[in-house]
Symmetry: C2
Subunit: 440 residues, 2 copies
């Protein structure tokens, strides 16, 4: 080892300095000596690109680092670019520039990766630089690292992940306290777990972005996020939780991926899972990912999926990897291993699953028979059927719940459509997939 | 990148070729291209040291690799030594030699690391080589990697781990089927989950070895394994599970570590944990580790803690790391980050915990009062006290169970001793610690 190599610090430019950026600066300062021993050289933040230079920052952030000029953070004086600003633009332009200039790149930006991940990876490989993105999925949980490193020698068959803390918090409150969706959401907003405009989270888009990022590594897949079937949790109500309990299940918002040979199956939606499964017991704002490797079997990681310090832990772990690889004179190996191709998605109608179906029907003879016949005609077989109570008043509605055996979603939907307009139906049918997660 | 570097394969000598070794050979063969792209050079097994050259091996193992001569696997023709033979000797001698010769070293040997880990790490650091040991703890689960890499920038406050699949299987059967320890053990032996001589597993020593290995990284601690308080699961019976259920808890065999400032607290024993906790729901032969980082918060990993292929996955992930670092011309950085010192252990009498105490007492007035008074005299306060039923016959015994608030173990033990010889006691008191695991 040449002493010269150790003497020169790795110079880091931070793009953005919000809560995560502040956490990164603090961790680099607090652990300076240890990090230097891991990298083989000291880490030094030298530039911080911000929009407003006068805003208050963490005390460890030196005023002379701050700049509003993007040109100041690139060029020869920067070795590593760490992007914690979020959003598609100008983050994408900045990362492309960093890669062109041969810098190591760390990003926490799931939206950017979901939209431009394959292009950024390809550019990084061609430029021989490392692009690391642990913090983009699962905050502080080493999900990306587990996929990238520990499964180096294995084949990922499936992933089942709880990737949105807001959804998980709301569903936990609904389960534990019998709260309505609206009340649980209000509580989440009060605690700062949900935005005033919560649709990115509760409609499933945030989880879908993270699933697309995971799929790059898990399945080597380039995916157009618009093609991924996504459902949120707004339609889940207390009655669904009561029935779930009755069948010894609970409801979780899952991001699911399967390797299906040529195709991959990706979907994001609420799912019923067995109460005894480990996924069922990941509560509140925690995130978790269950990865099935062909040789490994099931491997679950659970932890804080968001928050400034957990996310900063992941960013700094990436910084150490990329910095070390850069100063060893041969960067890009971690990224070079990512091999991606366009893989067709299984359309949701061709997905095989078990289903929880709930119908509000008029309390009259014949309704159950019509429903059962329609399902049978489509080849969907029924495992259980429950009609709860009787209607309180003449002409009132009662909920009917059916648990099916495994069937094709298209067939189930055709059956439901066939009696959607029947006189006994009171409102639309509800379908929640039952996910039989193996191995936990 | 100089082409010469890529051209030369990384030559691997395998010490031992049992089920894990066979799995390693298969994975290296099956994933050759991908592994080469990660390392920057092909991986080639060139030597396999075995005791019996005539024994049947996996078909991928070429006969010309096999040798019974230790000298043949060292020397200039080997870049990496991978030890999957197990046991203390001669594994220790071989690894020391590999380190002296400047080779990269990968080992799956928990016993060796628990006894000689700090010495081997120190020798590796001095020799500038990498020593990797993911497979020594938790089989295929990336526990070591999570500690080593993802927590690079964080401080580990505590670990709670299920590290022995045999114990976990037995306790799961006892919980789910009401089986006795003996019946559950017999079933585990029938399924190949337990040895004919099961004491290494069921008496807790295997888990203690793994905890000592984890503590090297988690707490930077050199520990004498003989000083770690260890209890197995032989004394747990059906009645304990029945009471656990009543208090909404279950019983798990845990390896526990806390950073207590100057000292660290390490202990291995059965513990009652809340039924809703993630640890409670890690079932059968699965292993898991819950790591609390100061910045990260709680992070749990769960997966197959043993088995040839899962363990081989971890070994090959380590091989990739060490091979890559070696051919980049600057090995040893991963190992150099491991900083260890002797840290005193908290004696078990000074541990603070809640306790489940069970006494079989004569069904006579005054017994409960004596017990309660003795605990009170020692400053141990009682949260709940349950006496189940009445004795069937005069002079018969009934179980009394007490759940304490947090108290010092020494005080609890002194209280118990003070009435151990009392006339109402039928047999010895039983103490099971209640572990209130935060954050899950």
């Amino acid at each position: 080892m040449s002493p010269q190599r150790v003497k020169f610090p790795v110079r880091i430019a931070l793009l953005g300095c919000g809560t995560v950026g502040g956490g990164v600066i603090q961790l680099i300062r607090d652990n300076a000596e240890y990090l230097a021993s891991r990298v083989g050289a000291p880490l030094e933040v030298t530039k911080v690109l911000v929009r407003d230079i006068t805003k208050d920052r963490v005390p460890e952030c030196r005023p002379e680092w701050l700049t509003t000029d993007p040109d100041a953070v690139f060029g020869e004086e920067t070795d590593l670019v760490v992007e914690v600003m979020g959003g598609e633009d100008p983050a994408n332009e900045y990362l492309e520039r960093a890669i062109r200039e041969g810098k190591g790149v760390v990003t926490a930006n799931k939206l950017l990766l979901a939209l431009h991940g394959p292009a950024l990876v390809e550019k990084s490989i061609n430029a021989g630089v490392d692009l690391a993105f642990e913090a983009s999925v699962g905050g502080g949980i080493p999900i990306i690292r587990t996929l990238r490193e520990a499964l180096t020698s294995d084949w990922v068959e499936s992933v089942h992940a709880i990737l949105n803390g807001t959804c998980n918090y709301i569903l936990t409150k609904m389960r534990e306290e019998g709260a309505s969706f609206e009340d649980a959401l209000a509580k989440a907003q009060e605690l700062g777990y949900a935005e005033a405009e919560p649709s990115l989270d509760v409609d499933g888009h945030d989880a879908a972005q993270k699933l697309v990022v995971m799929s790059m590594l898990a399945f080597g897949a380039k995916v157009n996020i618009a093609d991924v079937p996504v459902e949120g949790i707004r339609s889940i109500d207390e009655l669904d939780f009561r029935f779930a309990e009755r069948f010894d299940m609970t409801i979780k918002h899952l991001a699911i991926g399967y390797d299906r040979g040529e195709r991959i199956e990706l979907r994001v939606h609420p799912a019923m899972v067995s109460k005894g499964s480990v996924l069922a017991n990941i509560s509140d704002v925690l995130n978790g990912a269950l990865i099935h490797g062909r040789a490994l079997g099931p491997c679950l990681t659970v932890g804080p999926g968001a928050g400034a310090m957990p996310t900063a832990v992941s960013v700094v772990a990436d910084i150490v990897d990329v910095a070390r690889s850069k100063r060893e004179g041969e960067p890009g190996l971690a990224t070079r291993g990512i091999q991606m191709q366009s893989r067709p998605l299984v359309p949701i109608d061709e997905v095989d699953s078990r289903y929880y179906l709930r119908f509000d029907v008029a309390d009259e003879p014949g309704a159950l028979a019509t429903i059962a016949t329609a399902l049978g005609d489509q080849g969907v077989s029924i495992e259980q059927m429950v009609q709860e109570g009787r209607a309180r008043a003449a002409g009132g509605a009662v909920p009917v719940v059916i648990i099916t055996h495994t069937g094709r979603e298209g067939a189930v939907r055709r059956a439901i459509e066939s009696f959607a307009e029947a006189g006994f139906m009171r409102g639309a049918a509800k379908l929640i997939r039952i996910e039989d997660v193996q191995g936990n």
